[in-house]
Amino acid sequence: DQQVKQNSPSLSVQEGRISILNCDYTNSMFDYFLWYKKYPAEGPTFLISISSIKDKNEDGRFTVFLNKSAKHLSLHIVPSQPGDSAVYFCAAGGANSKLTFGKGITLSVRP
């Protein structure tokens, strides 16, 4: 039973446009959420996080939005750059401090 779902396996966007990566979760006990970026042959790297008490967190070109009632979060990348091409994982955690990861989405940014 997947508690964190990234239903789209891939996304392709034009350089300079917005990339929107979506994530859904089922466990109401999750109270913080993170996005990771992963390049081939490397470990995931932390990108941005959001607490359940917020609905938006911004860091440069990256913004994460959280809709608790819908159990949905999204990562917006504006403007998208070719170097953003990677696999993006959504992750969620609760009081036990263990993260549950989605399957990831492959983002391709076309020059």
Binding site: T45, K98, K103
Partner: protein, 114 residues
């Protein structure tokens, strides 16, 4: 500052062999984790530790063992390797569960069991 170091990077094992995947961190993080990633799948938690001397099972612990004798090291032991353990293994660490700054991951160990 090396972060999280995993060795080896690649390994091929025969069915029934054993090995230890090494993980070390130099950030004085109290929490450490082992995840595996199968093709097209997310990361699944194998074992984790909240401090030296304390370990607990994650989602997929069968076939693995861990120990945490120091803050820095968190080795993962595979006993009697099986083809189902073919995967990429990631070690990670965090300060107090990674609530704000997430986990720091190593670069992974790609294991093939034949």
């Amino acid at each position: 500052n090396a972060g999280v170091t995993q060795t080896p990077k690649f390994r091929i094992l025969k069915i029934g062999q054993s090995m230890t995947l090494q993980c070390a961190q130099d950030m004085n993080h109290n929490y450490m984790y082992w995840y595996r990633q199968d093709p097209g799948m997310g990361l699944k938690l194998i074992y984790y530790s909240v401090g030296a001397g304390i370990t607990d099972k994650g989602e997929v612990p069968n076939g693995y063992n861990v120990s945490r004798s120091t803050t820095e090291d968190f080795p993962l032991r595979l006993e009697l390797a099986a083809p189902s353990q073919t995967s990429v293994y990631f070690c990670a660490s965090s300060y107090s569960g990674g609530r704000i700054y997430g986990y720091t991951f190593g670069s992974g160990t790609r294991l093939t069991v034949v």
